[in-house]
């Protein structure tokens, strides 16, 4: 198997993630403050998938999460002085659930914050600024589900908006009328999966559209005629996994592609071979490899993008399929 010549450099990626906190590249660092909460979730989940959760300090992480609590709105910001946003709120919840620290959360208030973001049309806004996107619908559904409060959601309204985002090619966009995009396809599929409404998906057409994302170099793109990117290894694969069509992808070629995007010196994975790595692509590359059955990795739940065993313990596992874990 060619993966022996170019294996997944787990120890290197673990230290890459640990070193993110010590990176002296100051300007990039604070310019990404608005992503800090997300970045910690990506880093933590990648470590869990590589079976090295202990590599980041749990208490420090929980303290950071709680320092981002926005008492006024009842949500989490990305960083202590940032306003609450649904993106960082989900990441905060995911981190706390993964770290078994959900007791730190004022669940009622968070649920209230999330529900307050639903628009009359059924879609969710990201914050009071009002930007709407099907990503936020997924985030709301995911978060409420993790908190055991899906019962508070107007499911029909939520599903109805997503259904209207279905395009002629079977895919889904960010809002009604928007072009199909693999990232948006993922969030719509995942939201519908959690709500048990996969009947809203034209599975044969969408599965084909997803299979079409694979390029001759093995990588996946996000829409026709665009470049391959490691993160689509997760968005596309997870979607196919939920539709039980993960075998539509040439897994050997995709595995090779993801592995070739690793930085063999400093660790981390980039969007494509030769580019600089970042924690976002590192996480989604490893998540993709896990779904592809790469040996030595821990199972990840494609719907929640969190450790599968944890989601199962919470009673939230849905009927998705991944490739069998290879022995070597």
């Amino acid at each position: 198997m060619s993966h022996e010549t170019n294996p997944l450099l787990i120890p290197l990626h673990v230290s890459y993630i640990q070193n993110l906190g010590k990176n002296k590249n100051d300007l990039i660092y604070h310019l990404t403050a608005h992503l800090r909460m997300n970045a910690i979730y990506w880093g933590l989940t990648a470590l869990c998938t590589m079976n090295h959760r202990e590599a980041l300090d749990r208490d420090e992480m929980i303290d950071y999460v709680m320092s981002c609590w926005d008492e006024e709105t009842g949500g989490f910001g990305a960083h202590p002085d940032h306003d609450a946003h649904i993106l960082s709120t989900l990441s905060a919840i995911q981190i706390l659930v993964t770290q078994d620290a959900i007791g730190r959360l004022d669940i009622d208030r968070v649920v209230k914050f999330i529900l307050s973001l639903q628009q009359p049309s059924g879609v969710f806004a990201g914050d009071s600024f009002g930007e709407i996107d099907t990503r936020f619908s997924y985030i709301a559904v995911n978060a409420l589900s993790l908190l055991g409060r899906l019962g508070d959601l107007d499911v029909e309204k939520t599903v109805s908006y997503i259904a209207q985002c279905r395009n002629f090619d079977g895919g889904f966009g960010s809002r009604i009328g928007a072009e199909s995009h693999a990232g948006q396809v993922f969030v719509c599929c995942a939201a519908l999966t959690i709500l048990d409404r996969l009947d809203e998906i034209d599975t044969p057409t969408l599965s084909w559209w997803l299979a079409e994302r694979q390029l001759p170099n093995g990588g996946l793109n996000g829409r026709p005629e665009k470049l391959e990117d490691v993160c689509y290894s997760f968005w596309v694969l997870a979607s196919l996994s939920m539709l039980k069509k993960v075998h539509y992808i040439d897994s050997d070629k995709l595995i090779s592609f993801i592995l070739s995007a690793q930085d063999p010196e400093g660790g981390g994975i980039a969007d494509r071979p030769g580019d600089m790595p970042d924690v976002f692509h590192t996480h989604f590359g490893i998540a993709g490899l896990s779904l592809l059955g790469y040996p030595g990795l821990v199972d990840i739940d494609p719907v929640y993008c969190m450790p599968a065993a944890l989601i199962e313990t919470l009673g939230l596992r849905k009927g998705w399929q991944s490739l069998e874990r290879r022995m070597r």
Partner: protein
């Protein structure tokens, strides 16, 4: 280039109490601020705390946004300030024109424009602006979504009337622009019936000719084939209706037989890469829909795809074959 003067050193900001970054815990991601950014964010926190809404806040938020266009709190506060002090929204829009070009891939840039548009209500100008940004990046996802919103929200027939030409220009520049194909479908079939488009038979015919001609020009273009499929399905037309058009594309250049010019079925252009995998797949779908013995023809085509013409998706084709053979047996 000289160092910008810090807010800390400017007399007109001396009444503001700057608030340093919260550093009570050892942050997981310790931050070493560059002075300019640190100073600006300190003063932003200072005025946000007092709730100040003034002209100098506009200056500060503009500065912050230029340094970091993804700072969503700064955008939010800026918008609230514009409202509070009764600013001229059109001036703001002109300022945003400059920022949008440099930061096309930032969500906030486009959302801010949307908010301004809700006040200004001059969509035609926006369509022109969007057209200009497409010269820089013709596939920008946010921009296309914004254009669709403008058209749908204002729903003005004059706005819609220019869209088809607009899309055709973009497709002429790049026939593989998936965003443009999507927008065409959106304009023609998913946004109601516009003035001049009431004769749906004529519209359908026009679209069929357009997509066939596009395929004739560049057969290996997934967007065009997806458009054809979408077109037929949306109008409840079976795929078999276009079998005469499809067939030449499933053959090699040597096997082409068209002597007569058939306007309804434009053949592959010279130099086209044949056979076209997307056409073979389409033909296989036609056979599969017929069922019975035709399923065997379909599996033959799928085999040719998996083995030769679309090897990247060999596994997918193997599954289609398996499922097809199973269907024959039942």
């Amino acid at each position: 280039m000289s160092q910008p003067t810090l807010y800390a050193d400017r007399a007109e900001w001396s009444d503001v109490v700057p608030i340093e970054q919260y550093e009570n815990t050892t942050p997981l991601a310790p931050i070493f601020y560059k002075n300019e950014y640190k100073d600006a964010t300190n003063y932003f926190r200072g005025i946000a705390k007092t709730g100040e809404k003034s002209q100098r806040v506009l200056e500060l938020t503009e500065h912050l946004i230029r340094l970091n266009p993804a700072h969503y709190t700064a955008w939010q506060y800026r918008y609230e300030t514009l409202l509070a002090i009764g600013s001229n929204f059109e001036d703001e829009l002109r300022l945003m024109d400059e920022l949008a070009i440099t930061h096309l891939k930032t969500y906030q840039v486009w959302h801010h424009r949307r908010l301004l548009m809700l006040k200004i209500c001059k969509p035609a100008r926006e369509l022109d602006f969007i057209a200009r940004t497409f010269k820089v990046d013709a596939k920008n996802y946010h921009t296309w979504s914004y254009r669709q919103w403008i058209l749908a929200y204002f729903n003005d027939n004059e706005l819609w009337s220019g869209e088809l030409d607009f899309v055709e220009d973009l497709l002429y520049a790049d026939i593989r622009n998936n965003s443009a194909w999507h927008h065409r479908f959106f304009t023609v079939f998913q946004s109601g019936v516009h003035d001049g488009e009431e004769d749906r038979e004529r519209v359908l015919k026009r679209e069929l000719i357009y997509v066939k001609q596009s395929i004739s020009l560049v057969p290996n273009n997934a967007s065009a084939w997806n458009y054809l499929r979408g077109l037929l399905e949306h109008n409840s037309i079976p795929y078999s209706r276009v079998i005469s058009f499809i067939q030449p594309y499933t053959l090699s250049m040597d096997e082409q037989t068209a002597d007569l010019v058939d306007l309804d079925n434009p053949p592959p252009s010279k130099g086209a890469h044949l056979p076209c995998a997307l056409a073979i797949e389409f033909l296989a779908d036609i056979y599969e829909a017929e069922g019975g013995d035709r399923m065997l023809n379909a599996t033959e085509l799928w085999k040719s795809l998996g083995n030769e013409y679309d090897v990247a998706r060999k596994k997918y084709w193997e599954y289609r074959i398996r499922e097809g053979l199973r269907a024959i047996q039942t």
